[in-house]
């Protein structure tokens, strides 16, 4: 219960606090045209508070023995700022303004000097400790006056350069103050000074700043309005830009810098980290590339793709087109290409290859499956239900999905029942292909289906419907292969114990049998991302003008022709969006691999390698270079997307 309350309070403070700051800032500047002096009062108070808070955060102000704590001084500074602000917002007389400004600044400066830290802080820095010097300067008066002199000279020079239009003394006050800042705080040795030095240095600095502010004349009505309207863009944009700079821009730059430093982030090492990455055989190993061309996957892929192309060519010839891709021969070509790609990715090894494998597989399958579901569901009566179910995994976390699929993939010892769906099916297949009755039933059914398909094909050829005819023939091929497996070597997970002739179920270790355990992990992300591409394609397909499809039909186009000739060109930009978005998402895949294998069994990906290097081994250099590599992989897609966006905006 305490946790609940603490959580609620924390959330409330976070949300309410941000809202208050936001609305408060706007209300404050609403005041400017109506009650200028109250506006300046609030600005003065805020300035005092914020200045002291920053100094406190920098440990310049520090509670001294026998003195009140920092927050008391913070409030006092706010009060002084408020009084000065009120007076500066009401007084018109030049001298009075100067005196109020200078005095207010001097008091604040004095308060700073009084509380300046005079103890050396020791803070932990990694495994070592680091000392933080005190901010108290050891003033060298000669140098100090030299700096003030330089400041005065800059003031005169700027005044002359700017055509002598502004009052000279205003510039002199400002630049003398800047000179003082350099001479008193930025250049001298810190750490050794006396309290009197601290007070002197900061009081005069405050006095100078205050006088610079006091030197401005009392604002007139026009200025009030200008302040009000001019402030909005800062208030509206400020927080967003602050968050973006603090969490994206600056850290990214720092990561790139860190990638050129050593593991502790201290010494520059040039490109050594990148060299480490690209020479590590675990990360990139291309030495086996010759094996690709002799692998059964590659040869099978070429054959299958060739068959598909041949079928498409035969069908297309009848319609005086080069190729005609119906659902079946297109699947063949796609399957062939996937097999060839898988041959490549499974034989070359390493983290980067795995990542590319992920990107290829998940992008291709999720795009294709999403498009297929969108097309299929578009005609269906239960469209919204089917789409909801396919889309649902998008709401589940990657971690949750990883666990869900762990239950699908789990492998129990051969002697026991399989509790995972995949292995249960696999072992069940093994059982029926070793049981003569079961095999007979399955083969009979399959044979009947093949005969049926053959009949459809025959009817198709006779009536000139080539697409259906060839499609049916192509569909029989995997069925014939299944019949062969059942009659011949058997199918599914089983092993025959030689001594006894006993048949034992042999499950697949889906997450640890390399290299295709990678593919089984990818299935999880395909399962999630298909919903994403389906939703986008579904909207795009509904956006295809009905007149176009109608016209195609009138012209005698078949379903597949109107799909490839009308729908696909219409949704081409959408395909681009889906593919790029998927590539970016998949490139960063981490959670699924982390939860299911933690990168073991040759399933590592860049994001997981990054996590291990940066947060387990604490090698900041290599970790940062991996992050930079990831950024570089994504950069071209980023550029492409911005181009597309600009086009869409016009």
């Amino acid at each position: 219960m305490d946790r609940v309350i603490a959580t609620l309070v924390g959330v409330g403070v976070a949300v309410g606090g941000s809202a208050l700051i936001f609305i408060g800032a706007n209300k404050l500047f609403d005041l400017a045209p109506r009650g200028w002096r109250w506006f300046t009062t609030a600005i003065g108070a805020t300035t005092g508070l914020v200045a002291f808070a920053i100094l406190w955060g920098n440990r310049v102000i520090f509670q001294r023995e026998g003195m009140p704590p920092e927050w008391v001084w913070l409030l006092l500074a706010g009060l002084v700022g408020a009084v000065a602000g009120y007076l500066l917002g009401s007084l018109r007389d030049w001298w009075a303004r100067m005196i109020v400004g200078a005095a207010g600044g001097a008091v604040l400066g004095f308060l700073v000097g009084l509380n300046m830290r005079n103890v050396i802080l020791v803070v932990p820095d990694g495994n070592a400790q680091r000392e933080i010097a005190t901010p108290i300067p050891s003033i060298n008066y000669g140098e100090l006056f030299l700096w003030v002199g330089i400041g005065l000279a800059v003031g005169v020079a700027l005044w002359a350069v700017r055509g002598r239009t502004r009052p000279l003394w205003r510039g002199l006050v400002l630049w003398a103050t800047v000179g003082w800042l350099f001479g008193a705080f930025l250049t001298p040795e810190l750490n050794t000074g006396l309290r009197s030095n601290a007070i002197l240095a900061s009081t005069i600095l405050g006095l100078g700043i205050g006088a610079t502010i006091g030197a401005w004349p009392l604002a007139d009505k026009q200025t009030h309005d200008r302040v009000e309207s001019g402030s909005r863009k800062y208030i509206f944009l400020g927080p967003a830009l602050f968050f973006i700079a603090a969490s994206l821009v600056i850290p990214s730059i720092r990561t790139v810098i860190l990638s050129f430093l050593d593991g502790r982030g201290e010494e520059a090492v040039g490109f050594a980290n990148y060299a480490t990455i690209f020479t590590d055989a675990n990360i990139l190993d291309l030495s086996t590339w010759t094996d690709i061309f002799t692998s059964s996957l590659f040869i099978g892929g070429v054959v299958v793709a060739g068959l598909g192309l041949a079928a498409a060519w035969f069908v297309g010839r009848a319609r005086s087109e080069t190729f005609d891709f119906g659902p079946s021969n297109l699947s063949l070509v796609a399957l062939g290409l996937v097999l060839i790609a898988f041959a490549m990715f499974s034989i070359l090894r390493g983290t980067i290859i795995n990542n590319l494998w992920w990107v290829f597989t998940v992008t291709a399958f999720a795009t294709a499956a999403g498009l297929a579901v969108a097309v299929l569901a578009d005609r269906s009566r239960s469209e919204s239900f089917a789409k909801s179910i396919i889309f649902m995994p998008m709401a589940i976390s990657f971690v949750g999905a990883g666990i869900i699929w762990r239950f699908m993939y789990i492998a129990r010892p051969p002697v026991r029942d399989q509790t995972g769906v995949m292995n249960a099916l696999w072992v069940w297949l093994g059982q029926i292909s070793n049981d003569s009755t079961d095999t007979a039933i399955v083969v009979t059914v399959l044979t009947l289906v093949v005969i049926g398909l053959g009949y459809i094909s025959f009817r198709g050829f006779r009536s000139g419907v080539d697409g259906v005819a060839w499609g049916s023939i192509v569909t029989t091929l995997p069925l014939i292969w299944l019949i062969y497996r059942f009659l011949g070597p058997g199918l599914g997970g089983f092993e025959i114990v030689e001594a006894t002739g006993e048949i034992v179920g042999q499950p697949i270790q889906f997450t640890s049998e390399r290299p295709f355990n990678n593919f089984w992990l990818m299935v999880v992300l395909i399962w999630i991302q298909t919903g994403f591409s389906m939703v986008i394609f579904s909207a795009a397909i509904k956006g295809v003008p009905a007149e176009l499809l109608e016209a195609a039909k009138v012209d005698g186009a078949t379903e597949s022709q109107s799909f490839w000739r009308v729908t696909v060109p219409q949704i081409m930009p959408t395909i681009g969006v889906v593919v790029t978005t998927l590539i970016v998402t998949v490139m960063k895949v981490f959670d699924i691999v982390r939860v299911m294998t933690a990168g073991n069994f040759d399933t590592n990906v860049i994001a997981n390698e990054f996590y291990d290097k940066a947060f387990t081994e604490f090698n900041f250099g290599v970790g940062s270079s991996l992050a930079t590599v990831l950024l570089l992989f994504i950069l071209p897609i980023l550029v492409y997307n911005i181009r597309q966006m600009q086009k869409a905006a016009v």
């Binding site: 863009k233 944009l237 973006i244 239950f407 959670d591 950024l631």
Partner: protein, 321 residues
């Protein structure tokens, strides 16, 4: 749709005539069959988890979930009570609270911040507006990994900058000891969400009719009043779309929380908690299904209740990286 169907029936296509009515009807029904097969395939994994979460420990370990009607002891709610009890489940209930403590501020605060910024980009005139906007949106695709390491350093040791020539160190972000807290996580989420949020909201807000804005200006309303009274009420649909998107995103996040909270188990959100439960491979494995299901209940409810808005967010923001 109905009209089209009738037409195909009255004027039989040459394909139908050639193949015969039965074969044609069979072939035309294939898409529906394929769709239903896909729907079943897609729901099996979640269904399996759901059923397993109600089964006894021994049943889970020795038989498949599809045999649940054969379980000798029937089904049980014990897994749920166990996993929610603080000690046994490693505090899944506590982790749910942490997830909310991250997801709620990480949803509300970016909406507010981004709405203001999107409004400024859409309706305010200032120099460099276009470039600033493009620059902001360009950060959409920057991977989280690129900024995680410096952010962790920032939250654990503060941000310091040593000015080169004068060799003095300035602290621009004090060491607030935020590493290991949920605050660090939602602050980070807020920053990461902004480019997308600004992009999404800007698309909508810049499309509001110009004359509404002009008439308000004539009436003397300033930007803040106009924003508050007119733009926000008009933008509710897109704000809802982003809110759902962002809520699911932050609730389901694993990497950012894992990095910034690290070993501080008391502050783990539910994703890290169930991931660690999954990593145990031991005595509590039977609780995993229940834990995983609990962690997905809230997103699923949000998803099914507000699917329309979620889809809109996805459609409008399909360039998110």
């Amino acid at each position: 749709m109905a009209v089209v169907t009738r037409e195909t029936r009255t004027t039989r296509s040459p394909v139908e005539i050639g193949l015969g009515k039965t074969i044609y009807a069979f072939l035309s029904s294939i898409p529906t069959w394929v769709l239903w097969i896909l729907v079943i395939l897609w729901s099996i994994p979640t269904l399996g988890l759901f059923v397993n979460s109600f089964r006894f420990r021994d049943a889970q370990a020795t038989s498949g979930w599809w045999t649940f009607f054969n379980d000798p002891n029937g089904l049980t709610l014990d897994n749920y009570t166990d996993v929610l009890a603080t000690q046994v489940g490693g505090g899944v209930g506590n982790a749910l609270l942490n997830s909310l403590a991250i997801a709620v501020p990480a949803t509300i605060i970016p909406i507010a911040v981004a709405a203001f910024a999107a409004y400024a980009f859409a309706w305010m005139d200032f120099r460099g507006r276009e470039w600033l906007f493009i620059g902001t949106v360009a950060l959409l695709a920057v991977p989280v990994q690129t900024s995680l390491l410096p952010l962790l350093q920032l939250f654990s040791g503060g941000g310091h900058l040593t000015i080169p020539i004068i060799d003095k160190t300035i602290t621009f972000f004090p060491d607030l000891d935020l590493s290991g807290t949920v605050t660090a996580v939602w602050l980070t989420h807020t920053g990461f969400a902004l480019p997308f949020a600004i992009f999404l909201l800007h698309n909508y807000i810049s499309g509001l009719p110009q004359d509404v804005f002009e008439s308000a200006q004539i009436d003397g309303a300033n930007h803040f009043t106009f924003f508050w009274r007119l733009v926000i009420p008009l933008s509710v649909p897109v704000l809802a779309a982003f809110a759902i998107f962002q809520f699911l995103w932050t609730y389901n996040d694993y990497l950012i929380a894992l990095t910034l909270i690290g070993g501080n188990g008391a502050n783990w959100p539910v994703t890290i908690r169930i991931a660690s439960l999954a990593g145990e491979f031991g005595t509590r494995e039977h609780l995993l299904a229940a834990g995983a299901f609990i962690s997905t209940v809230l997103p699923l409810v949000v998803f099914f209740a507000l699917q329309r808005y979620f889809v809109r967010g996805i459609l409008a923001g399909s360039v998110k990286g």
